[in-house]
């Protein structure tokens, strides 16, 4: 399992991006996206904003599970295409957490949801910082470390 996470600001540009792999099932925590997918990932998430904006009015929950998918080049040596899924979390400030993962969410829906909850906590703590303004890029290395710790814990 590989994940690509982006926090999208209200002007549609990412303010934080991160790529990681699973630590479960003997994974070493590094992502295994193919080079083609690596360069596509930001664009795929950007296109998913369309769907978030559409469905955000139809649901009460902040967590949006596998609301979009992308059929793209697979990992490893096999060149067959595989399905990628995109899950998201909409914060109350209309900042979006979007994540691409190469497995349907039904297997680890809860853990992704938990991860997003913790990420929301981290994000709100960042917002509380008087020196941080909305839509600024989050460059704090502490934040990065904490996100990765969360990922290790849940994903």
């Amino acid at each position: 399992m590989s994940y690509y996470l982006a926090i999208i600001g209200t002007t549609d540009s990412p303010i934080y991006e991160c790529e990681f792999g699973t630590h479960k099932q003997g994974g070493d925590g590094t992502s295994k996206f193919s080079p083609e997918m690596k360069e596509l990932n930001p664009f795929i998430l950007h296109s998913s904003i369309d769907i978030v904006e559409d469905i955000q009015w139809q649901t009460n929950s902040m967590f949006l599970k596998s609301f979009d998918e992308f059929h793209g080049p697979g990992t490893g040596s096999t060149s067959t295409n595989v399905n990628y899924y995109i899950s998201g979390f909409l914060t109350s400030g209309n900042v979006k957490f979007l994540m691409i993962h190469d497995n349907s969410v039904y297997k680890n829906e809860d853990s992704i949801k938990q991860f997003f909850m913790d990420l929301n906590d981290l994000y709100v703590k960042t917002l509380l910082n008087p020196f941080y303004k909305v839509n600024d890029v989050i460059s704090s290395s502490v934040f990065d470390l904490k996100v990765k710790a969360c990922a290790k814990k849940y994903l």
Partner: protein, 666 residues
Amino acid sequence: MMDHNLTSNNIQFYLDSHKDISELITQYQLNPKKTSFDCRSIIVNAFSPQVTVSCSPEVDLIADNFGFPSFFQLLKPFGDKVINQFQVKDSQMASRTTQDFSLRFTRPLNDLVSVQQAQQQQHSTSSSSFSGNNNNKLGQLFSYQSLELLIDEYIQSITDRTLAEEQAGNHQLVKVLSDSVYIKFFTKLMSSSYMTSFETMNHPVSSFLVITARNTLEDAKQQLLQFRQSSIPSYMNIDDILPLMIVVHDERDTQQEKTAYQLRESIKSQLGIEVFVLGIITSLESQVAGESRKLNPPVLTSIDDELQTLHLPHADSKELPLSNIKTIYRLLKEIIQKQIIPFMERKISVWDTEVVIPRKSFSGRFFSVSKRYFGGNSSSNGKSDGSGNGNGNNYDPLTCAYPQKSNEMIIRKLADWSFMLRDYRYAYSTYELVKKDFLSDKAWPHLASAQEMAAMSLLMGATNITSKLKKDTIDPLLDDSNYTYLSRCGLKTYALRSMIIVSELFCNLKDDWMSAPSAIRWLRKAIDDNLLGRLGKCLVLERIGYVYGLYVESRAKVIINRKLLTATPHNKQTETEAEAESEETQQHLNPHKLRRNNMATIGLTRHRKSTLWKLLAAKEWDPSSRPLQVKLKLNEVEHQYKQSQFTSREGTLYAKLDRLTKDRLS
């Protein structure tokens, strides 16, 4: 007269011959769905009656005078669209008017059959390793290599012009040029005249036998005999092809005219077929007198034919005197209205009373059910040619064909002909009727084709469909049809054609918000099932981008259009002033309030999706081999990605493609 037929298929020809194409460009400007409408009219043209043309050597000499290799090549451009008010009666005997009609002219019947057999033999020897499945008996619609080659040639031929126009900043024309590639691809998918046992669209409806006034009655008799004795496949019926004789004479030679009319009378009385007289200017010398005009290149030439003529030196210098063009159009109008349409209507009503009505009646249903369940003797099946295989059905699984006079073949033909006459509702009910027979006979290619056509006639007949109809009827029909084409018959080209047609037809429907997802679904399926060549894949990716661009809620469409209107230059200044004002008031309220400028249309468009697919298409075009195509796509995505900083970062796909194309093009 021909100026009404502006299609982007011939854009290159128009530009070469300095034709005024401003009308075409404004159409593109005004209507974002113009290309889809074009595709629909191509579909109508492509499913129009096929007409074989066989001529005496003297007639070919006349064609040769004007630089055409044969008279059929001369006629071909005329068939693309004959504009007139044609009266067509539908199955309820109600009269309708159509604004135009098309005929697809092809080679003489004998040539068609023999060429096809040769192709088939070649095909079956080359794929003999796959013998065992019966798929190699069914020929494909076209060959992938030829299609790719043709598209490649076309792109190369417009590259220089597109580049020049792009640098000159002539964006509208560039748009038309780049769209024309997809239109070309679409047209070539449709323009195969390959005859198969499972669809009768390509079976000729009529046959023109052309002679000159110099020919004798004996020659005419010979031609008719030759036509009657053509060796056609067992699934075709020569009685369903209407022979028509055309006598050509020189317009200025009154003596010839007289003999032509005499010949007409004697042929009519002795051979009993309809004869038309065509008086045209027959040689180039007399052309000086009248104005002459270049003919539009025919749109629906098959891929192989077009590849052959592509590099002929005199391919583009064919001119006909204006009076000839008018006369030929007049003749075609007369033939269509007086002969071809009535002939088809007559046949349809005969088949309807003989085959369809008995089947729909109570006893007919009872018979067909009893036949199915109690198996039994094919003797009860009076109409069969005796080639039934003893299971009570007429289907011959070895040749994958029904005999020509079997009920199934006739019903299928009936449906196809009503489709050609644009009676889509009746065509749909007929396809549905015959579908069950094909299923119980396990006639897979027939079944797939009937399902495809049933869905197509539904979509062609409607301007809007309910989601229930789509979910319960159209989707299952198409799913089944595609599954059968691909898994049971191995007919990739047919499956591809049906997917592309269906997605264009969905785009033609009124409610984009409802139909765009289906259109996208079928295009994506074509890519995911690996049905496309390399260039085809690029084009379809582009097309997905285009359909996502259409994917707009109707409310949002109104708002966007209003915004476009107010954004015209003279309003701009007032707008900025107004904006500045509103900014001031907002600053009073809350300096930290976040602003959004698309509040009204939020979530009701798919522009970002559209950009993603255009970017994917750009990547697929490959900057090192086709930098111009990549550049055109990048231009389209620029306005969306320009706002966000992440796109221009080092190492992202967009930045990489941008740099590579700039390197290549400079």
